[in-house]
């Protein structure tokens, strides 16, 4: 079977505590109701420093410096004290500080809507020059900045939203239209942050894989942002906007939306495009969400915790034609939540987990690890949402009991062996199945894993268009190598081309005669 492969993955985070205050919807809505509210007054006292975020164990797993399973050996709460020696750079990407992320916003801004202050940029320049992801050309594009006076004026007249570093105004994002509610300063900031984090992830993907950017044929962007104007609110196309800043001059692309399930859908589509032979290298990419920053902030503060939703996430995965080496995506292993499936947890898990395994003659034990909704438990628990990954694993195990593949008493053991602690930020689409793709690829390549199931799930009711649930899943497995069938196929194709060329040459010779 000639299956597409996962050629590489990249994962990045941007620490954005000040953007959390300005652009997180929980804080934004609170400010609309009462700008002097107690919650907003307390917010700043609960923010983490960059170093604390870097030393946060789950995020070190996200960028690839530790395996998610290692988290089980680290005492919780993970946010208390430095439980690991964090590094800015990891195997898959990095954790960018907020001031540098502001420079990325300016870099990817195509309409002079992001203005950074000149002194701030002068101070920042040596660090930008040291960044392995920014070229001299990029730094030239970022430019010298604007005067504080100009920026202050725009912010005060409310035609721009501020970019702050604590109490210091270091820039602004201007509105792109006077009346269009889809092009307000707030929306432009949201979309530019998503684009910038997507660009960083895609650049890391190219670096990690060593693939020439011009070899990328197609990009699927799968975040949850709608970019457009009032006549086409979700018009897109963030995929091309991101690819433009990663040197992917030979690629086209489009956006796929499916709430949190977006990345899993996008990977399935990418695999299909490659398997169909339409494209050789399809990049799946998503930046993060500023709207979700501080989403559970009220509960975190109530419990005396730091605001743990203080990072924007991003990821990119490269799906390529079979190279005989990288782990494959089994295109016959899809689990899908159909329109008629129903939305009880049981129906959903059956559609996504047991139906595809039954079809392939596999049992639940045959999958080494299931990657579900991988958000960090201590972020969601204070808000009453519980430990989401563990709840998912218990559901999978309970389904195993109902199908008589497991004893009820074996549920905790199944959860421990086939699950892992959540290690991704609560950025909607970012934690959904896809955070483990990089780890799974590495473990399969190292011969330490035979099979991983990637499961994306999404809640569609939020858009008020349907009450349906959504989800899609697929298996990753070791590459079986090039098969004989494949060799024969290629030989036949070569012969066919040679024959055709000979015929063309003959026709040309005859027409000259």
């Amino acid at each position: 079977m000639y299956e597409p492969v996962v050629k590489g993955a990249a994962y990045i985070l941007a620490h954005t505590p000040n953007m959390a205050f300005e652009y997180g919807t929980t804080q934004y809505v609170e400010r609309q109701k009462d700008p002097q509210s107690k919650y907003l007054m307390q917010f700043g006292d609960h923010l983490r420093t960059y170093e604390q975020v870097m030393n946060y164990a789950p995020f070190q797993a996200y960028i690839g410096n530790i395996h998610p399973d290692q988290l089980t050996a680290i005492d919780r709460p993970w946010y208390e004290g430095d439980k690991v020696e964090g590094k800015r750079y990891g195997k898959y990407g990095e954790i960018v500080p907020e001031d540098e992320f502001y420079a990325w916003l300016q870099l990817v801004d195509a309409f002079e809507l992001v203005w950074l202050e000149e002194e701030f940029l002068t101070e920042l320049k040596p660090r930008l020059e040291a960044s392995p992801m920014l070229t001299a050309e990029d730094i030239k594009t970022i430019g010298g900045g604007r005067s504080l006076k100009e920026i202050q004026k725009r912010v005060e007249e409310k035609t721009a939203a501020p970019l702050m570093l604590k109490d210091r105004l270091v820039g602004c994002v201007r509105r792109a239209h006077e009346l269009d509610s889809t092009l307000t300063a707030h929306v432009i900031a949201e979309n530019t942050a998503s684009k910038a984090s997507g660009v960083l992830a895609l650049r890391y993907l190219l670096k990690n894989t060593g693939v020439d950017p011009r070899e990328i044929d197609y990009i699927i962007e799968c975040s949850e942002e709608a970019c457009g104007d009032m006549n086409q609110r979700g018009g897109g196309n963030l995929a091309k906007a991101i690819g433009e800043h990663a040197g992917c001059a030979g690629a086209t692309g489009s956006d796929t939306r499916a709430f949190c399930a977006g990345p899993a859908h996008a990977m399935v589509l990418a695999a299909a495009l490659v398997k169909a032979g339409m494209f050789s290298n399809v990049a799946v990419v998503a930046g993060g969400s500023t709207a979700k920053l501080g989403m559970n902030g009220k509960d975190h503060i109530k419990k005396g915790m730091p605001i743990l939703e203080d990072v924007v996430g991003g990821f990119a995965v490269l799906i390529s034609e079979n190279d005989g080496h990288n782990p494959i995506i089994r295109t016959d292993s899809l689990g899908k939540h159909d329109i008629g499936t129903g939305s009880s947890p049981q129906a959903v898990m059956q559609a996504l987990v047991t139906n595809p395994l039954d079809r392939l003659g596999l049992t639940m034990e045959d999958v080494d690890k299931y990657s579900v909704e991988m958000q960090v438990a201590e972020i969601t628990e204070p808000a009453g949402a519980g430990d989401v990954p563990t709840a998912n694993y218990r559901m999978i195990a309970a389904l195993g009991v109902m199908k008589k593949q497991l004893e009820r008493s074996a549920i905790p053991d199944f959860v421990a062996r086939h699950g892992m602690p959540g290690f991704a930020p609560t950025q909607g689409h970012i934690p959904s199945g896809v955070p483990f793709v990089g780890h799974a690829r590495d473990l399969i390549l190292a011969g330490q894993m035979q099979r991983a199931m990637i499961i994306g799930k999404g809640s569609l009711f939020l858009a008020r268009m349907t009450n349906l649930f959504d989800g899609i899943s697929f298996l990753m497995e070791p590459n079986p190598g090039r098969t004989d069938d494949q060799a024969i196929d290629e030989g036949a194709v070569k012969k066919l081309i040679a024959d055709a060329l000979r015929q063309v040459a003959l026709d040309l010779a005859q027409s000259e005669d």
Partner: protein, 107 residues
């Protein structure tokens, strides 16, 4: 509890009268179940939604309580809820909702 759901329950209460309503919760977490039960009895304890300060005192149950479970077709329950009984802490959920009901529901 979700603000939209609060609004719907409030509307249903106004339309049919509180004496004709029973709320059946499906929450998977005891704290969430307790909050939801409080919301439909003494009002939204988070002071965020339409039921803030509205004391509907509705009878509230969790779907896994025997009073409700016994009234559901066995096959339907098996298909829709049985798996979750192995996932959640049933006793804690029932205790949380029952506690609020016995104290605040007009039965």
């Amino acid at each position: 509890m979700d603000l939209e759901n609060q609004a719907r329950i409030k509307e249903l209460g106004e339309e049919h009268g509180a004496e004709n309503l029973v709320v059946v919760l499906g929450a998977a977490d005891a704290d969430c179940a307790e909050l939801a039960a409080e919301t439909v009895t003494v009002g939204d304890p988070t002071y965020a939604g339409p039921l803030t300060g509205v004391q509907l005192e509705l009878p509230v149950y969790h779907v896994m309580e025997p009073d409700i479970k016994d009234q559901v077709d066995e096959g339907v329950y098996e298909e829709q809820v049985a798996m979750m009984e192995m996932v959640v802490e049933v006793e804690a959920l029932i205790d949380a909702v029952k506690g609020v009901r016995e104290q605040h529901s007009k039965l």
